[in-house]
């Protein structure tokens, strides 16, 4: 079974964002980078499939940073090789999907995993656009997956419940928290990852640029100081009620 996992290098979720001077990007010079956490569920599921069925797990990442540590971490978890498509800065979801589709077509995977979204920008668009471009079924927000021959049965999270979806390979799967518990890279895995190939490609992008671009990014306004109510309980209640009805007008 040939398994692909699309992974994104993102700032650690605990990073405190700073806005770059152009006000359209973030200054991430001090940030620590990780594999987007949802992508780790994809890697783990891919490794479990390989362990059960044999085959190969290939990581694919569109990344212009030149830093391979994050990809190396995925290889240390157990993936066999990686393809990094080096670009020139941040791509929007449509460009990303077009570029990734070139790699996916060439590799001809039986199944490709994604995180349900890449943390940071959280566009949640790439898997859907890719499915459309490649004319393949996508099962999104998957929390349970069974594969038997070419039969795929996936449980997806929907509002207030679960939905069971069936499909046939080849298929695209976007992973949600709960699908599995990603393994830690073992020391032997880390040593082995040193020798695994990382193939660097330049992006092939022939489609039109998408029709939108980022105008401006800004931080949420700082929280204003809270109001402390004092006095007897009855007075406090009155004061809170008048605040809620007169000032913020929610009751």
């Amino acid at each position: 079974m040939k398994i692909g996992v699309c992974v994104k290098r993102v700032p650690d979720t605990e990073t405190r964002p700073k806005i770059a001077s152009d006000e359209k990007n973030f200054d991430l010079s001090d940030a620590k980078f990780v594999i987007s956490p949802y992508d780790e569920f994809g890697i783990e599921e891919a490794l479990k499939l390989k362990e059960a069925n044999g085959g190969e797990v290939v990581l694919i990442s569109l990344d212009s940073s030149g830093d391979v540590t994050v990809i190396r971490n995925g290889l240390a978890m157990g993936a066999d090789r990686a393809i990094i498509v080096e670009g020139d800065g941040e791509r929007d979801p449509y460009e990303t999907a077009v570029i990734l589709s070139n790699v996916l077509k060439e590799e001809n995977f039986d199944i490709v995993f994604f995180g349900k979204q890449g943390v940071g920008h959280d566009y949640q668009q790439v898997p859907s656009i890719l499915a459309e471009i490649m004319n393949l079924p996508l099962i999104s927000v998957v929390v349970e997956l069974k594969i038997d021959g070419d039969k795929v049965e996936a449980v997806r999270e929907i509002e207030g419940g679960e939905e069971v979806v069936e499909a046939k390979l080849p298929v695209l799967i976007s992973a949600q928290k709960g699908l599995n518990v990603p393994r830690y890279p073992s020391l032997r895995g880390i040593m082995a990852a040193k020798k695994k190939p990382i193939d660097k490609k330049s992006p092939e992008f022939t489609a039109e640029k998408l029709s939108w671009e980022v105008e401006k990014v800004e931080l949420p306004p700082p929280r204003k100081a809270g109001k402390i109510v004092e006095g007897e309980v009855e007075e406090q209640v009155k004061e809170i009620i008048s605040f809620l009805s007169d000032e913020v007008k929610i009751i």
Binding site: T69, Y184, M191
Partner: protein, 391 residues
């Protein structure tokens, strides 16, 4: 309180390889997810979290710097040090476990063992399926192991061991013990004694105020029958035992940076949040800043010493006196830093809501075991003056 992300004032991370940083990440994640949430409970209960052993084995933390077999990760000594640092940030008990298993049980079997002993025990010890301990110290002989009273007498197809070993980490839970005893010719030899062998008894030491989450035991040998093939054929006198100690001491020198960094991190964050006089955090007071800067300075110097000794060890150039300096210096500053952190936390520093007092108590053992601070001073003194001054 901000999440711990290491302490690296002079960017000494630049001296680490990509793999070494990934190894540290793995160990840090393991400690955050599996150790920190449960360790207070085990500390209070005076119990070793034995359920973590196999996962440490799977991740490769046991004997990780040893080489020669496929199942041994064979990582650099700096990588090994970083793993020890992260484990000890969880608790000295875990690092002590890994030190003993790797440096004091797997290392002697790999270095002094027969092919049969290696192929039988090393895979089981690396995976954590079997636990080992190391018996050198005795009730009456600690810093002076040459005085040991435990004897081994060859009788037919067995050695008969008599004596006892005390303060043995993993002592009561171990499946095998690497034990040093005096042979009839007065030389010291090493043996693999297995749990359940006739005349071998393992007893836990209770009521410790330090290393409460670690298993510490006493080993008793009463006409203990050990088959001839369980002698470690390569052991040549006390020197062989001391070679093991050098390995373990190296890991300890790194390990204590874990609690040192943790205690500094907590003191720094606490002092920025704790408000006392004039509505200002205590970090704005000069006396507190002085303590924080002392901690950071000592951690920074110790990190650089550790990396350098590690690189020397990889090149086979580390002298045991270098490792004495590493162990002595780093444990001393870690102990001091834990105490200062406790002071900054005030009354909060005496309860286990914070890990500080647990680390402070643990470091008392670490200060004494594996060569006391004083013995390491004398080893370095001997090296530079060429005059032994041990007694």
């Amino acid at each position: 309180m901000r999440r711990f992300e290491g302490v690296d004032f002079v960017e000494s991370d630049l001296l680490l390889t990509e793999e070494e940083k990934l190894m540290r990440d793995t160990a840090r994640k393991f400690v955050e997810d599996k150790v920190k949430p449960i360790i207070e409970e085990y500390h209070r209960g005076h119990r070793f979290p034995i359920h973590l052993v196999k996962e440490m084995g799977t991740l490769g933390f046991l004997g990780s710097n040893l080489k020669g077999y496929d199942f041994l990760p064979g990582i650099s000594n700096v990588g090994y040090g970083l793993i020890m640092q992260e484990l000890e940030r969880g608790d000295s008990a875990l690092r002590s476990f890994a030190s003993v298993q790797g440096a004091l049980v797997m290392y002697p079997i790999l270095t002094f063992g027969s092919e049969e002993q290696k192929s039988k025990w090393l895979p089981l010890l690396a995976s954590g399926e079997k636990i080992g301990c190391f018996g050198l110290t005795e009730p009456d002989f600690g810093s002076n192991p040459a005085g040991m009273k435990t004897t081994a007498k060859k009788v037919g197809s067995h050695y008969i061991l008599n004596g006892s070993k005390m303060w043995i980490t993993n002592g009561s839970i171990a499946d095998i013990a690497v034990v040093f005893a005096k042979l009839e010719d007065g030389n010291i030899g090493g043996f693999i004694v297995e749990r359940g062998m006739e005349g071998f008894k393992q007893v836990e030491i209770k009521n410790k105020f330090s290393l409460r989450a670690s298993d510490t035991g006493i080993l008793y040998f009463e006409d203990c029958k050990v088959p001839l093939e369980n002698k470690l054929p390569g052991t040549k006198g006390l020197k062989s035992a001391l070679m093991c100690l050098t390995q373990a001491r190296y890991g300890i020198g790194w390990g204590v940076l874990g609690p040192a960094m943790e205690c500094f991190h907590i003191a720094l964050e606490y002092s920025k949040e704790r408000i006392q006089f004039a509505g200002k955090p205590i970090a704005s007071h000069q006396l507190v800043q002085e303590k924080l800067v002392y901690m950071l300075s000592e951690i920074t110097k110790a990190q650089l010493l550790s990396i350098q000794v590690g690189r020397l060890k990889d090149e086979g150039k580390a002298h045991f006196s270098h490792i004495s300096l590493l162990k002595k210096n780093n444990v001393k500053i870690a102990r001091e830093i834990a105490k200062l952190s406790r002071e900054i936390l005030g009354a909060s520093g005496i309860v286990d809501d914070y890990p500080v007092i647990r680390h402070m108590l643990n470091l008392e053992s670490v200060f004494t075991y594996e060569g006391t601070d004083e013995i390491h001073t004398l080893i370095i003194g001997h090296r530079i003056t060429d005059i032994p001054a041990y007694y």
